[in-house]
């Protein structure tokens, strides 16, 4: 146990930091052309990701030909620390970089890797992920979008929902039922679907905070034809791809969240210590001090829990401990904005400050409270995380 890294690791950090300083996109271009969804890459973002790829800083744990440098687990940790601290976007098509590409590399044919994985890494194509359905949100095995194998390929019919970035993605990694007679999780296959195929209709689902802002979509498939060679992995073998896909890189997601929460708590502490426009100082209220101290401790604790998990189980392996960090981190984020909304009181109903999808650290407190539900709902609700912890970590019996 020790508080500090060794010199070689700090040298690695210094190298990355210098590179980022020299190669980062400029704030002006980033704010001039903001990304409009999790699959929309403005020109600066394509350039930036390509630069990361070429320099081996895109996925450092991978070999150079895949945009990495075979970094050790500790180096990867430092990499994510630095990125979180720099507040630079690493992946503007996160599902493409962190879920789809690893799946293509793990399960794809050589041709699929060349055709899809490398262009994804080079920011030439973007992805959405076709998992959730109206009748199968938390319950992936219950999906009912069907693909029938015909002469000219698969014919897909059905509907996906909560499909992030579908309106901008080039391709969809789409989970479909290919064997309706098999047990639920044994009849699923994964297809690479070109989002420009005839028969696809996309309906954006604006989020509760803004009728003009949508990352989620409904995607309807009406006899969409998908070439046979776009099947990823074995026919009816999609279930294991799902497990593998969702697990990738989860191990270090907490760094980004812990960093963001630490920053936000810090900002609220500063805010509390200053006079508000209405003359109050929130720090003069002992109850608010008590709450903010607790939030500060929790943000620190999230970080310590992450490092502790890294030391004891995570390392190179994926583990359900991820659920602990996801649950604690997202609930903390929600509680943070709830607490501050209530501390601000009536002043918090004024939400005139402009907000934006990418402005994670910006926007009115009450709006950020509402947006924080994305964390407690998406990628497995808090309830699902508690189930996972109880059953997979603690071994309590399923019913």
């Amino acid at each position: 146990m020790r508080l500090h890294y060794d010199q070689a690791t700090e040298d690695f950090r210094a190298e990355l930091r210098a590179w980022l300083e020299a190669n980062r996109p400029q704030p002006e271009e980033m704010s001039r052309e903001p990304s409009q969804s999790s699959a929309h890459l403005p020109p600066w973002a394509r350039t930036w990701q390509r630069r990361l790829f070429d320099a081996g800083w895109l996925v450092p744990g991978w070999p150079p030909e895949l945009g990495g440098r075979n970094a050790t687990p500790v180096q990867q940790m430092v990499y994510f620390e630095e990125f979180a601290g720099s507040r630079l976007p690493r992946a503007l098509n996160p599902q493409g970089l962190s879920i789809v590409t690893p799946s293509l590399i793990d399960f794809g044919s050589e041709e699929q890797k060349q055709r899809f994985a490398l262009p994804s890494l080079r920011a030439e194509i973007t992805w959405c992920l076709g998992m959730s359905e109206p009748g199968a949100g938390s319950d992936l095995a219950g999906l009912s979008t069907r693909a029938e194998l015909a002469d000219d390929g698969f014919v897909v019919n059905g509907q996906k929902v909560w499909t992030s970035g579908a309106q901008h993605a080039d391709y969809c990694l789409c989970f479909v039922r290919t064997d309706p007679d098999a047990p639920k999780h044994k009849g699923i296959s994964v297809l690479i679907v070109d989002m420009r195929s005839p028969g696809i209709t996309i309906r954006p689902l604006p989020q509760l905070t803004d009728p003009k802002q949508a990352d989620f979509n409904e995607v309807f498939f009406a006899s969409v034809v998908v070439p046979r060679e776009n099947l990823l992995g074995p026919l009816h073998g999609g279930w294991s791809i799902a497990g593998g896909s969702l697990a990738h890189e989860r191990g270090m997601l907490w760094i980004d969240q812990a960093s963001s929460l630490e920053r936000t708590v810090g900002r609220f502490i500063e805010l509390a210590a200053q006079a508000l426009p209405d003359g109050r100082r929130l720090a003069d209220n002992a109850v608010v001090r008590d709450q903010l101290a607790q939030l500060y401790i929790d943000a620190q604790a999230l970080k310590f829990m992450g490092y502790h998990g890294f030391a004891t189980f995570a390392r190179q392996h994926v583990s359900p401990e991820h659920s602990v960090l996801k649950l604690f981190g997202t609930e903390l984020e929600r509680r943070l904005f709830l607490t501050m909304t209530e501390a601000l009181g009536a002043a918090a109903i004024d939400v005139s400050t402009p907000t934006g999808r990418r402005a994670r650290d910006e926007g009115p407190t009450a709006v950020r409270y509402l947006r924080s539900f994305a964390g407690t709902i998406a990628a497995g609700t808090s309830e699902i995380q508690r189930n996972i912890i109880a059953e997979r970590v603690l071994g309590l019996p399923r019913r």
């Binding site: 508000l276 109050r280 209530e342 009181g345 109903i349 939400v351 009450a366 309830e383």
Partner: protein
Amino acid sequence: MDFAFSDEQTALRSSARAMLERHCSTAVVRDLVERGIAPEPLWARMVGLDWPALAITESAGGVGQGFIEVAVLVEELGRVIAPGPFLATVTQFAPLVRECGTPEQRDRFLRAVATGATGTLAISGPAGDWRPERAALTARPRPGGGWLLDGSVHHVLDGGAAEIAVVARLDAGSDGDGIAAFVVPRGAARSEPVQTLDLSRPVTTLRFESLTVPDERVLGTPGRCAAGVGRAVEEATVALALEMVGTCQRIFDTVLDYAKAREQFGVAIGSFQAIKHKFADMFVALERARATAYFAALTIAEDDERRTLAASMAKVAAGDCARLLAQEGIQTMGGIGYTWEHDMQLFAKRAKQGELLLGTSAQHRQRVAELIGLTADASTAVTAPVPA
């Protein structure tokens, strides 16, 4: 203590609910929220049903009923998150005029309310404080008659109302309790709409620059209004608490229906025990808020000495309930609850905004602590009052 509604009150609730279900669907709310269309027909219908007149004395053209009847209506309005001037007019403007005005003023302004004139109350500064002694405006006598008002008032519901009851502080050196109240007409102050969390409940900031108020619009005697304003704010607070209970009930019903219908893993999500226990906790919060609001309504209706304490307790319980129900309402619905399309966002935002207006739970707990003798000052009296 008898919490049973009379048959007449129950009938009022039924007819109000039927009317509102027909004429105040969330389409009406979305007209305002998404397209800025004010709910004029709905308000006209309420006026036609004498709702604004309900608690105004017959001598002033009203129906002569009491606060319990208003409570019934307000809870139902909360249930449909009705937009429009009812809350501000009937539970803010009218009580202030009643408490502070002369008999002639009461007659004049309340008679107008009874026939459909709208009103509101302006008192708070930007920090959200509705205590009379913290009123945001200042008033001074105008040489030659009338008074002059200066300052900005925040968090004014329905700031475009016909008449605005304004509370102001007098100079420190003045006689009496230092608080005065006025009625200024629409447009007299500069009105700036605020972009609020709950777009179905517009809020305005009003700016006064040495606005002259003529004597006939000066309520009662300046420097003698603190108690009356306090009572009016208590009434407004209890009404808001009741409205929040209605909205929370709507959230509850909506999520409960969803939990019974929505299937995951082959069963209704409401059959999962963790979801069940959440519903049990929500139900307890709702029952707590409702019972506490009803008690407060009774203290207002009977003008019981416990009304100040009861109003703060009601706002705490309603605020706690709104916090929980808004949160679990969205969370339990999952992705659907996160969309603009589903009405849950409208309900949740109304509940959250109610939680923040007229004093938060934390602010009212502080008030309760003072009232039961818990203060940092050791010299204060100690005995806790015990509502029967």
